[in-house]
C-alpha cells in the first residue's frame, strides 16, 4: 500500500533522511522507533507534504500513486492522515465547523457531493461518542484551552471522522498519562482494518503495549537499521538503543 524507496530528505541544507526504505501492506500496523534526531518527525512531515521538507531523491507511493508529486491537501484527499505531536489551536473555529470543512474539502477532492449537515452531525457525534469525547467539546474552538490529553483525543476523533487509508501517528503518545495513552491506543485500534495501513512513530515502547504492531523498525541516522516483529520493541525497551549500538541523545 505504502512504498517508500531510497528516500532522501533535506531540511534546510541538512540531509536528515539518507535513503530510507519502507513498505506497508494493507491491514498492517508498523511501528517506527528511534532515538531523538534520527529523522522520525521528518519522515512524517515528508510523507504528509509539509513545506520545508525537501525530497532530494527516492520515491513514495500510496496505492501506486506518487505522493511526492502532490500538495499536502491533495495527499489528505488521497487518504493520508497525520496525527500531530503538538496539535494546533485555531481560535474562533469550532471543532464541528473544522471537521465539516475538512470532510467536505476531501469529498470535493474526490469528486463527491458535500455531506449534508445532518449526516455530518450524526457521523461526528457517533465517532466522538465511541472515543468518549464530551459532545460539548465539539462546539469549542479547535484545541483552544484543551489539556494535552484532550488534544490527543481530538486528533483521534478527527482521524475517525476522516477515515484515512494511511494514518501516520507522530509521537502522538508523547507526554500523555496512562489514561490519555489508552485513548490514543483505542483510536488507533478502532481504525485497524484490512484495507488500511497505520504507521506509529514513537520514542517509547509503552504505546505498543496497547497497539500491538505487526512490524517494528528502528530508525537511526536517517535510515532503517533494523526491522523485526513486536519482540524487537521489547528488546529495545530492555536493552535501550545502546543495545543495538545506536547512540540515543535522549538517554
Amino acid at each position: 500500500m505504502l512504498e517508500i524507496k531510497n528516500l532522501h530528505v533535506n531540511v534546510g541544507d541538512k540531509e536528515i533522511l539518507k535513503g530510507l526504505d519502507l513498505s506497508l501492506r494493507a491491514g498492517e500496523v508498523h511501528a517506527i522507533m528511534g532515538p531523538n534526531g534520527a529523522g522520525k518527525s521528518t519522515l512524517s512531515y515528508a510523507l504528509s507534504g509539509r513545506e520545508g521538507y525537501e525530497v532530494t531523491e527516492g520515491t513514495a507511493t500510496l496505492n501506486g500513486k506518487d505522493l511526492l508529486d502532490l500538495e499536502a491537501d491533495e495527499r489528505a484527499g488521497e487518504g493520508v492522515f497525520l496525527g500531530f505531536q503538538y496539535p494546533v489551536e485555531i481560535p474562533g473555529v469550532s471543532n464541528m465547523n473544522f471537521l465539516k470543512t475538512a470532510v467536505n474539502s476531501i469529498r470535493k477532492y474526490r469528486g463527491e457531493d458535500e455531506m449534508t449537515a445532518v449526516d455530518l452531525l450524526k457521523l461526528v457525534r457517533s465517532k466522538a461518542a465511541e472515543l468518549k469525547m464530551d459532545p460539548e467539546m465539539l462546539k469549542r474552538p479547535v484545541n483552544v484551552g484543551f489539556s494535552g490529553g484532550e488534544k490527543k483525543r481530538n486528533e483521534m476523533v478527527q482521524m475517525a471522522v476522516l477515515d484515512p487509508c494511511l494514518a501516520i501517528l507522530d509521537e502522538t503518545d508523547s507526554g500523555l498519562d496512562i489514561d490519555a495513552l489508552k485513548i490514543v491506543a483505542d483510536g488507533i485500534n478502532r481504525l485497524r482494518a484490512p484495507d488500511k495501513a497505520i504507521l506509529v512513530i514513537t520514542h517509547y515502547q509503552r504505546l505498543l503495549d496497547y497497539v500491538v504492531p505487526d512490524h517494528v523498525h528502528v530508525l537511526a541516522d536517517g535510515r532503517i537499521v533494523k526491522s523485526g516483529g513486536k519482540e524487537l520493541a521489547l528488546q529495545l525497551e530492555a536493552e535501550g538503543y545502546a543495545g543495538l549500538g545506536i547512540a540515543d541523545d535522549a538517554a
Binding site: G49, E71, A72, D73, L82, F84, P87, I90, T101
Partner: protein, 488 residues
C-alpha cells in the same frame, strides 16, 4: 440615494403609477464638471428641493470652501493617496439609462461574475447587481411593493432623502445635520453641499420595524450614489435593523465617495446598523479603487437608548471611517463591531468614537483588523468620558492579524476620562497566521484558500455573529474571497 429613486421608478413604471415626472428629465442630464454654487443650485433644482435645503447646502459649501482654502483636505489619517482635484469631479449624474447598460451578462466583466458565483448569488440578482438592463424585474418589483405596503401599515417612513425633503419637511429640518453638523469636518461639509441622494427612515413611537431594512436594498442598490446621505430616526420605544451595502463587489466610475450617516435614537429605542462594504479596492498593484471617506454618527439622545454599529469593510482602496456614538441619555449603550481587511495596496484607517455624556452609559468596541499583501490597517478610536458621566463603562478589544511580511497593522487608541467613577478596559493583540496552523488545515484536506478563510473567519467570529443571519453566511465567504492569493 439614487438607488432608491431608481427602484421606485421601476416600481412605479411597472405598476403604472409613475408620479414623479421630473425624473425623466434628470435621466438625460448631468451637472457640469467641478464644484461651485451653480453646481449646488443645479442639484437642488433637479431634486425640486425646498428653499431652506438649498440654503443649508450653500452654507455647507461656504464652510467647505473656507476649509479647502485654509488647510485643504485632512491629512491626519494613516493613509496615502494623490491629492484630489475637487474641480475635476462630476457632482451630479443621473442613473444610467437602460440603453447605456450592458445588454446581458455576456457583456459584464467575467471576473466580477466569477465572484458573484463564489458568493452564491442567483443569476437574476447578478443581472441587477451588475446593472444589466432588465425590462421588468418581476421578482424585485413585487417584493419591493410588498415591502412598501408592510412598512406603510406599520407607519414606518422609508424613502429617499429627496422625497423626505418634500414630503416630511418638519422631520427633515429638525434632524438633518443635527448629529453631523455641516461644519463637522471637510468631507461632511462636502457631502452636505452636494449630497446626491440617500435614505430617510422614521420609526414612530413604540413601533418595532416589521422587517430588516436590508433585503430591499440587497435587490436595488446597484446604483448607489457617490455622495450618499442617510438619516434614521428611532422615536421612543422603537426598533429598527438596517443594513447597507452588499457582499457583491461594487464597481463605480466615481473614485471619490463621501457619505454621511446620522442616527437619532430616543428613549428606550434601538438602532442596529450593519454595513458590508465591498467597493472596488483597485487592482493588485493598487491602481484604481474607491476612496471612501465616511462620517457616521449616532446620537443616543433618550434614556436607555441603544445603538449598535457592525461593519465588515473589505473593499475600497482607501477607507476613512469612524462610526461613532454620542451616549447622551442616561443608561444609553453604544456598540461597535468591526472587521476591516486590507489586502494588496488597500489602506484602511477606521475605528470609532464613544462619547459618554449621560450617567451609567456603557460602550463596547470589538475591532478586528486583517492586513495582507501590502495592505495597511489602522484602528483609531476615542473613548471619552465627560465629567457628568457617572459610572460610565467601556470595554475595548482590538485585534490585528497579519498575513505575510509586507503589510502593516497599527492601533491608535485615545482615552480621555474626566470622571473618576469610569471603568475603562482596553485589550489589544497582534498575531500572524502561523505556518503550523496552515499546515494543520492542509493536512486535514483544506486547500490554502479554504484554510486562510477558515482561520480568518475564526479570528473575526466575535464580530460576524452580530451580523443579521442572512448576511453572515455571505460575509464569511467574502472574507475568504477578499484574501485570495494573499498566502502561498
Amino acid at each position: 440615494m439614487a438607488a432608491t429613486i431608481e427602484a421606485e421608478r421601476q416600481v412605479e413604471e411597472a405598476t403604472g403609477d409613475y408620479k414623479y415626472g421630473f425624473i425623466t428629465d434628470i435621466e438625460t442630464e448631468k451637472a457640469p464638471k467641478g464644484l461651485s454654487e451653480d453646481t449646488i443650485r443645479f442639484i437642488s433644482a433637479k431634486k425640486e428641493e425646498p428653499e431652506w435645503l438649498l440654503e443649508w447646502r450653500l452654507k455647507a459649501f461656504a464652510y467647505w470652501q473656507s476649509l479647502a482654502a485654509e488647510e485643504g483636505e485632512p491629512d491626519w489619517a494613516m493613509v496615502n493617496y494623490p491629492k484630489i482635484d475637487f474641480q475635476d469631479i462630476y457632482y451630479y449624474a443621473a442613473p444610467k439609462s437602460q440603453e447605456d447598460r450592458p445588454k446581458s451578462l455576456d457583456e459584464v466583466d467575467p471576473e466580477l461574475l466569477a465572484t458573484y458565483e463564489k458568493l452564491g448569488i442567483s443569476l437574476d440578482e447578478q443581472k441587477v447587481l451588475s446593472g444589466v438592463a432588465v425590462d421588468v424585474v418581476f421578482d424585485s418589483v413585487s417584493v419591493a411593493t410588498t415591502f412598501r405596503e408592510t412598512l406603510q401599515e406599520a407607519g414606518v417612513i422609508f424613502c429617499s432623502i429627496s422625497e423626505a425633503a418634500r414630503e416630511y419637511p418638519d422631520l427633515m429640518r429638525k434632524y438633518l445635520g443635527s448629529v453631523v453638523p455641516v461644519q463637522d469636518n471637510f468631507y461632511a461639509a462636502l457631502n452636505s453641499a452636494v449630497f446626491s441622494d440617500g435614505t430617510f427612515v422614521y420609526i414612530p413611537k413604540g413601533v418595532r420595524c416589521p422587517m430588516e431594512l436590508s433585503t430591499y436594498f440587497r435587490i436595488n442598490e446597484a446604483n448607489t450614489g457617490q455622495f450618499e446621505r442617510t438619516l434614521i430616526i428611532a422615536d421612543d420605544e422603537s426598533y429598527v435593523s438596517y443594513l447597507e451595502g452588499c457582499t457583491a463587489p461594487m464597481r463605480d466610475e466615481n473614485q471619490l465617495h463621501a457619505a454621511v450617516v446620522e442616527l437619532v435614537i430616543m428613549d428606550d429605542a434601538e438602532i442596529k446598523y450593519s454595513t458590508v462594504q465591498n467597493w472596488y479596492p483597485g487592482d493588485k498593484d493598487g491602481k484604481g479603487g474607491i476612496y471612501n471617506f465616511v462620517t457616521k454618527r449616532a446620537a443616543c439622545r433618550g434614556v436607555n437608548s441603544k445603538v449598535s454599529w457592525t461593519q465588515v469593510e473589505t473593499g475600497s482602496s482607501v477607507t476613512w471611517k469612524y462610526p461613532s456614538c454620542i451616549l447622551q441619555g442616561d443608561n444609553s449603550v453604544g456598540e461597535f463591531y468591526s472587521v476591516a481587511i486590507s489586502n494588496n495596496y488597500q489602506q484602511a484607517d477606521t475605528g470609532t468614537k464613544m462619547i459618554h455624556i449621560g450617567k451609567n452609559t456603557s460602550s463596547t468596541i470589538i475591532s478586528k483588523g486583517i492586513s495582507a499583501g501590502h495592505g495597511q490597517n489602522t484602528y483609531r478610536g476615542l473613548v471619552k468620558v465627560l465629567g457628568g458621566a457617572d459610572d460610565a463603562r467601556n470595554f475595548t478589544q482590538c485585534d490585528s492579524l497579519l498575513l505575510g511580511d509586507q503589510c502593516g497593522a497599527h492601533t491608535v487608541p485615545y482615552i480621555e476620562v474626566k470622571n473618576p467613577t469610569a471603568q475603562i478596559e482596553h485589550e489589544a493583540t497582534t498575531s500572524k497566521i502561523s505556518e503550523d496552523q496552515l499546515f494543520y488545515c492542509l493536512q486535514r484536506g483544506l486547500n490554502t484558500e479554504e484554510a486562510v478563510a477558515l482561520i480568518v473567519n475564526g479570528f473575526c467570529r466575535d464580530v460576524m455573529q452580530h451580523l443579521p443571519m442572512e448576511f453572515a453566511v455571505e460575509a464569511q465567504k467574502l472574507l475568504g474571497i477578499s484574501l485570495e492569493g494573499s498566502v502561498g
